[in-house]
C-alpha cells in the first residue's frame, strides 16, 4: 500500500466515501469471479483504488452476456439505437467534471483532460448519428443482368472483442466502442485505464443501453486478450490496444474461427475517424428476389 500513514490528528472531519471499482458484465457490476484485484495508483504513485483483476472465466461470462444481447440489440431499429447512443452522450456530458478529475489522476493537465472529455462526447454524438445512415452509405441496390431485385445491406457481424487503446483512456475507449455497437454489434472490452473505463460503464448503465451490449473487463491485457481472441463465439476482434507482440498472438488465435481482425487502422484518436471502424465490423448481406407478375 502506498497510501501515506497519517496521524490521528490529521484525520478529516468527514471521511470520503470511496467507490469500489468492479467489472461490468450483462448490465451488472460483479467482482471478478477469481476474487482478484489490483492496485491502481495515480500518476504520482498515490493509491486510488483496487480494480478488479478479471479472469478467463470473466471473459467467457462477458461473451455469453454479449451473445445473449446481440439478437435484441441488432434487432432494434437504427433510429432507436441512435437515440440510445445519443442518450449515452448526454450522460457522458453530465459527468464531465468526474471524467476530468479521473483523467487528471492519470497525469493529464486540467486543460488536456477537459479537451479529451469534450472530444469524447463529440465523437460519441458523431457516431450516434450514424445509426440510421450507415446502411445508405455502405449498402446498395445492385443492377443485375436479369429480372431480379438485388439488394445489399450491411449487418452487424456479432460479438466484438475490443482491446481499448492506451494513452487516451476515454477518447480511445469511445473511439473503438461507439463504431462497434452503433451498427448493432455487442462488445466485450478489455479496458486500458480501469477507473475511467468503469466510470464509463456507469454511464452506459444509466442510458437505457440493454444489458450485455457492452461488457467491460479490467485487468492485464496480456492475460485476458488471448482468451478473447481465441473464443469461438466471438466474431471479430479490434486490436487497437495491443502491443505488436500481443497483436500477433491474438491475430493467430483469431484464425481459429476466422474472426474479423481490426489492426493497423490508425491510432490518432483526434483525427477524423471516417467510417472504416464501422464497416470493418459489418457483413454485407445480399438478397435476391425475382421480379415477375
Amino acid at each position: 500500500m502506498s497510501a501515506k500513514k497519517k496521524d490521528a490528528a490529521e484525520a478529516p472531519a468527514r471521511l470520503r466515501v470511496r467507490k469500489t471499482y468492479k467489472l461490468f458484465i450483462g448490465g451488472a457490476f460483479p467482482r471478478s469471479e477469481s476474487g482478484r484485484s489490483y492496485v491502481v495508483n495515480d500518476s504520482r504513485g498515490e493509491f486510488l483504488a483496487n480494480a478488479s483483476h478479471a479472469s478467463r472465466k470473466d471473459v467467457r461470462d462477458a461473451v455469453v452476456a454479449a451473445r445473449k444481447a446481440f439478437g435484441g440489440w441488432s434487432g432494434r431499429t437504427p433510429y432507436n439505437r441512435g437515440q440510445i447512443l445519443y442518450r449515452i452522450a448526454e450522460m457522458l456530458e453530465g459527468r464531465r467534471r468526474q471524467f476530468v478529475e479521473e483523467l487528471r489522476d492519470t497525469g493529464l493537465s486540467r486543460e488536456d483532460a477537459e479537451t479529451e472529455v469534450d472530444a469524447a462526447v463529440d465523437r460519441w454524438v458523431w457516431y450516434a448519428g450514424w445509426a440510421d445512415k450507415i446502411a445508405q452509405v455502405a449498402g446498395s441496390v445492385n443492377p443485375v443482368a436479369g429480372p431480379f431485385l438485388n439488394v445489399s445491406t450491411p449487418e452487424p457481424t456479432g460479438v466484438v472483442g475490443v482491446l481499448a487503446p492506451s494513452g487516451t483512456p476515454l477518447l480511445g475507449l469511445v473511439s473503438v466502442l461507439a463504431p462497434a455497437i452503433v451498427t448493432g454489434n455487442t462488445a466485450v472490452v478489455v479496458a486500458d485505464s480501469p477507473l475511467v473505463a468503469i466510470t464509463f460503464a456507469e454511464v452506459l448503465a444509466t442510458s437505457d443501453l440493454p444489458s450485455g451490449v457492452v461488457n467491460v473487463l479490467t485487468g492485464p491485457r496480456v492475460e485476458l486478450a488471448p482468451w478473447l481472441a481465441g473464443h469461438m463465439d466471438v466474431n471479430a476482434i479490434d486490436l487497437a490496444g495491443a502491443s505488436e507482440e500481443l497483436a500477433n498472438a491474438c491475430e493467430e488465435a483469431a484464425a481459429g474461427n476466422l474472426k474479423r481482425v481490426l489492426r493497423g487502422l490508425g491510432t490518432d484518436w483526434s483525427a477524423d475517424p471516417g467510417t472504416v471502424r464501422m464497416t470493418a465490423l459489418l457483413e454485407t448481406k445480399t438478397v435476391w428476389h425475382p421480379i415477375g407478375v
Binding site: V137, A255, G256, L258, K285, V287, W288
Partner: protein
C-alpha cells in the same frame, strides 16, 4: 424404378472437342512468357480419367520469379497507369473471352467434368461479364468510397469448381484497382487459367501484370508465405482458409477468404411447390453440388415435406447424368478421385448414423468419377451430413414447424454463406432474409450470380466480398 422408365431417350448430342487444341505440356506464365519448371504433374479428364496434359509445378524459384515480375509490373507499369487505360485492357480481355467462349467452355468441361450446358450458358458468360463490369470501375474508383490506392502484388489461390469464373472474380477487380497478380489455379483444373494467359498475350497486357503459377498445395504455401506479396485472396475450404489466416497473422498482408458453406434452403408450406422443386434441384445438383453456396440442407415445413419429396424424386428422375460434353447432360463428373472419395465417405457416415438414403437409379459410365444425385431424409442436426460440407450432389433434408424453428436450424452452423427461402408471403421473405445469418439470401430463386452483386460469407465462410462496388474494397488500401 418406374419414373426413370418415363425418361425420354435422347440421341447423344456431344459438343465437338475439335474447337480446343490441348498442348502436351504447359509451362508457367511468368512476366508474359511461358517458362517450364523442373517438376510437372498431369491433369486429367475426370469423365474418362484420360491424361489431358502435363502441367508445370511451380517451386520456390518460379514463385520468386513470378512475384518479382508482378512487383516490377506494379511499380513500373500497372500501378502508375491511368485508370482509363487499365479499363481498356480489361475491356479487351472481356471481348476476347467472348470471342473464344466456345473453346473455353469445352476446355473447362473437359478439365473439370462439368456439363457443357453449364460452362456454355453459365460459366463463360459470367466470366466475360465480370471482366466487363470491373473494366468500367478502373477509371471510376474515386466514386466508390474506398480510396484509389492499389495494395500492390496480390497472391490469388482459386478452387477447381468454377476454375475460370473464380479466376475472373479474382483477377478482374485486382487489375481494375491497379494491383498486379500471381494466381495459382487448382491442381486439378489448370487448363483454362493457362488459356487465359494466352488471352492476356492476345490483349497485349503488359508482361508481369498477370502471372499464372500452376501447382499443388506446396505452390500455394510458397505463395501465401512469400514476403513480396501484399494481399492474399483465397477461395477454397474453411480448413485451408484457417491455415492461411494463421500463416498470414502478424505479417501485415491483407487477406480475403471465400470458404465453405452448408446453405439452408427453406421451403414453407405456402411455397409454389413446382418452382421450389426446380429451385432445390438447382441448389444442390448445379455443378454436381460442388458449389460452396449450395443448398445442401433442405429445410421443409413439415406439412408439405412428404409432397415435396415425392415431387423432388419425380423431377430428379429426369436428370441426365453422364458425358459432360453432351448438350443434354444435367449432371456431369465429380472433379477428382479425391473428391469422389470425400463424398463417398460422408454419404457412408449418413447411412451409418441412421439417415435414410435415396439415390437416383441411373447408369453411370464405367470410367471416370461419378456420383448419382442423392437425398437423405430422417436427418438429425447432429449428423455429419447435416453439419459438414459434402461438396457433392447430396442433399440432407430436415423438417421444421415454425419460421422461428427454421431460422434456428438454418443458423445452427459455423458457416454463413448462403440461404434460400421459398414462400409466397412477402413479409415472411423479408423477415426470414433479415434473420438468416448468411452473405447471400435467395428468395424464390437459388444460385443466382452477377458481377454487380456482392458475394461472400459470414462467420467461418470467410470474410470480404467479391462482386459489385463492395468487391473493390479488397484491392484498395484502406
Amino acid at each position: 424404378m418406374m419414373m426413370s422408365d418415363e425418361l425420354f431417350e435422347y440421341a447423344p448430342a456431344p459438343e465437338s472437342r475439335s474447337v480446343v487444341r490441348i498442348e502436351e505440356s504447359y509451362g508457367l506464365f511468368i512476366d508474359g512468357e511461358f517458362v517450364s519448371a523442373k517438376q510437372t504433374f498431369p491433369t486429367i479428364d475426370p469423365a474418362t480419367e484420360e491424361v489431358l496434359a502435363e502441367v508445370s509445378e511451380a517451386g520456390a524459384e518460379e514463385v520468386d520469379l513470378a512475384v518479382d515480375a508482378a512487383r516490377t509490373a506494379f511499380e513500373k507499369v500497372w500501378g502508375p497507369m491511368p485508370g482509363r487505360e487499365r479499363a481498356k485492357y480489361l475491356y479487351r480481355i472481356a471481348r476476347i473471352i467472348q470471342e473464344r467462349s466456345r473453346e473455353l467452355a469445352v476446355l473447362e468441361s473437359v478439365d473439370n467434368g462439368k456439363p457443357i450446358r453449364e460452362t456454355r450458358d453459365f460459366d463463360l458468360p459470367q466470366v466475360a461479364a465480370h471482366f466487363f463490369h470491373y473494366a468500367g470501375w478502373a477509371d471510376k474508383l474515386e466514386y466508390a468510397g474506398y480510396g484509389t490506392t492499389p495494395i500492390g502484388v496480390a497472391g490469388q489461390i482459386i478452387p477447381w469448381n468454377f476454375p475460370l469464373l473464380m479466376l475472373a472474380w479474382k483477377i478482374a477487380p485486382a487489375l481494375a484497382c491497379g494491383n498486379t497478380v500471381v494466381l495459382k489455379p487448382a491442381e486439378t483444373t489448370p487448363l483454362t487459367a493457362l488459356a487465359f494467359a494466352d488471352i492476356c498475350r492476345q490483349a497485349e497486357l503488359p508482361p508481369g501484370v498477370v502471372n499464372i503459377v500452376t501447382g499443388g498445395p506446396e505452390t500455394g504455401r510458397l505463395l501465401v508465405e512469400h514476403p513480396g506479396i501484399d494481399k492474399i485472396a483465397f477461395t477454397g475450404s474453411t480448413e485451408v482458409g484457417k491455415r492461411i489466416a494463421r500463416a498470414v497473422a502478424g505479417t501485415g498482408k491483407r487477406l480475403g477468404l471465400e470458404l465453405g458453406g452448408k446453405g439452408a434452403n427453406i421451403v414453407f408450406d405456402d411455397a409454389p411447390l413446382d418452382q421450389a422443386v426446380e429451385g432445390v434441384v438447382n441448389s444442390i445438383f448445379f455443378n454436381q453440388g460442388q458449389v460452396c453456396c449450395a443448398g445442401s440442407r433442405l429445410l421443409v415445413q413439415e406439412s408439405v415435406a412428404e409432397e415435396l419429396m415425392t415431387r423432388l424424386k419425380e423431377r430428379m428422375a429426369t436428370l441426365r447424368v453422364g458425358d459432360p460434353l453432351d448438350k443434354n447432360t444435367d449432371v456431369g463428373a465429380i472433379n477428382s478421385a479425391v473428391q469422389l472419395a470425400t463424398i463417398g465417405e460422408l454419404v457412408a457416415s449418413g447411412e451409418a448414423e441412421g439417415a435414410e438414403r435415396w439415390s437416383l437409379e441411373c447408369e453411370l459410365p464405367e470410367r471416370g468419377f461419378w456420383f448419382a444425385p442423392t437425398i437423405f431424409t430422417e436427418v438429425a442436426q447432429s449428423h455429419r451430413i447435416a453439419r459438414e460440407e459434402i461438396f457433392g450432389p447430396v442433399v440432407s433434408v430436415l423438417t421444421f414447424r415454425t419460421p422461428a424453428e427454421a431460422v434456428e436450424k438454418a443458423n445452427n452452423t459455423p458457416y454463413g454463406l448462403s440461404a434460400g427461402v421459398w414462400t409466397e408471403k412477402g413479409s415472411r421473405i423479408l423477415s426470414m432474409a433479415q434473420r438468416l445469418r448468411a452473405g447471400v439470401v435467395w428468395a424464390n430463386t437459388f444460385n443466382q450470380f452477377d458481377p454487380a452483386s456482392p458475394f461472400g460469407g459470414y462467420k467461418e465462410s470467410g470474410f470480404g466480398r467479391e462482386g459489385g462496388r463492395q468487391g473493390l474494397e479488397a484491392y484498395l488500401v484502406r
